[in-house]
Symmetry: C2
Subunit: 224 residues, 2 copies
DNA sequence: GTTAATTGTTAAGTTCGCTTAACTTTTTAT
DNA sequence: ATAAAAAGTTAAGCGAACTTAACAATTAAC
């Protein structure tokens, strides 16, 4: 069992590499990582070298980083802990959506595998966190992906269901709360104004015209 | 609001100072702190100086350390988080008593005040953790102390109630589990063998003879 | 009340995770 | 194709939290 204990900085680095690698199969660039983690590019290079000697990432000078098998395992475990905590904080402690991310960001690094398992059991093995992101299981596998897209991508009026609110902005969540825009609820997309980049919806018997910035953060699915 | 964020090492140091100071009004010696925290005496001296310039402890060369008002406040908050997590882990996640300490030791440093408050509310504002230790409230005040002593201190046969199991030994907790020795249960102290330092009890209709080492770890109260 | 043991301090050095500055390689724009 | 911009690397250095080693102050033992 090669479970070398990995530091907080390393865990965050691995998570970030995972994030970029899963969006861009080439891998994660040093600049992306540095700006995401709020560290200098040289610090990112150093960390890449260090994790490379620990066999957690594959690093070659001047080319994008990728996770090794071990590195991916570690990243998935941290993501699992993060999303389990978010679920707990929101569903059990009733914490606001915009707060749970920050809290989970801290807790994820102080959570043993055994605690994560017990938490998962208590929450009844949730498959998605309150933002709608998939929660890896004990062995790091993600649940089947839901067919979800940002509202901004929808081209024709239809009935849609909110899968997830993808934002870290407190004011966005406040706006959603006030208008009953929340995970799980269904609504009708009435009209699209392609030139103005606006979307008219009817939700809880209220019509709202949303701008595109807002719509990008509302992730929906078509089949009720 | 002087809530300067304090590092993990500093938090643990403050907790340790509190521990010694509350047992020994003189304060905490450098050696005690060093051995409790598993660091060298020089590291303890350095930390004492650092926290002294931060006004969290009162430090003078060659004399025992004491907490400042601010330092005590900080220590109580960490202890509060620790004991809330222990309560949660044991009562909600059903984690074994010998495990909860280690897990709480990590979580306590990754817990905001706001999360601690929500956790306390969810647990219905518990006054004592699963070991029986008092949980400070939001403002750092401890609940009224129960009139509890180690079983080893009892001098005459009587009916006693277990308040707390004070140990970090897994085998001790296993022994207790096997014999139904647990927090909240009442039992009869049948006989004391002062020369042999042994105590005979009847618990759940079974007679058990305990040695002093075990009895020191079983904290009881006289009034039912 | 010496002296030996314990306790505490200081100094010098290490590792980790960063920084800034100077430089090199790669990419992009024209 | 080349020059400018962007991205990446290297080197030197810093603060936090440690270490070991040498030494000084306090306490305890006889």
């Amino acid at each position: 069992m090669t479970h070398n204990k990995v530091s907080l900085s390393s865990e965050n680095f691995l998570k970030a590499v995972y994030r970029y690698e899963s969006r861009n199969k080439k891998g994660a660039s040093i600049s992306d990582l540095a700006s995401r983690l709020n560290i200098s590019k040289s610090a990112a290079t150093d960390m890449a070298k260090k994790l490379s000697t620990n066999k957690l990432v594959k690093y070659e000078k001047y080319s994008p980083l990728k996770l090794s098998t071990q590195g991916k395992k570690q990243a998935m475990q941290v993501i699992r802990k993060h999303r389990l905590w978010e679920t707990f904080l929101h569903e059990v402690l009733d914490m606001d959506l915009f707060e749970v991310h920050r809290e989970a960001e801290a807790l994820e690094h102080s959570t043993s595998e055994s605690l994560a398992d017990k938490l998962a059991a208590f929450l009844n093995y949730p498959k998605f966190d309150p933002h709608g992101d998939p929660i890896p299981d004990k062995s790091g596998n993600l649940p089947k992906h839901r067919n979800s897209v940002p509202l901004s991508e929808i081209k024709t009026p239809s009935i849609l269901k909110i899968i997830r609110l993808d934002s870290f902005s407190e004011s966005f969540f406040n706006f959603c709360k006030q208008n009953n825009i929340r995970k799980g609820i269904s609504f009708k997309l009435e009209q699209i104004f392609p030139n103005e980049d606006m979307f008219e919806i009817e939700i809880s018997d209220k019509k709202i015209v949303l701008n595109k910035a807002i719509c990008k953060q509302i992730i929906v699915t078509k089949n009720s």
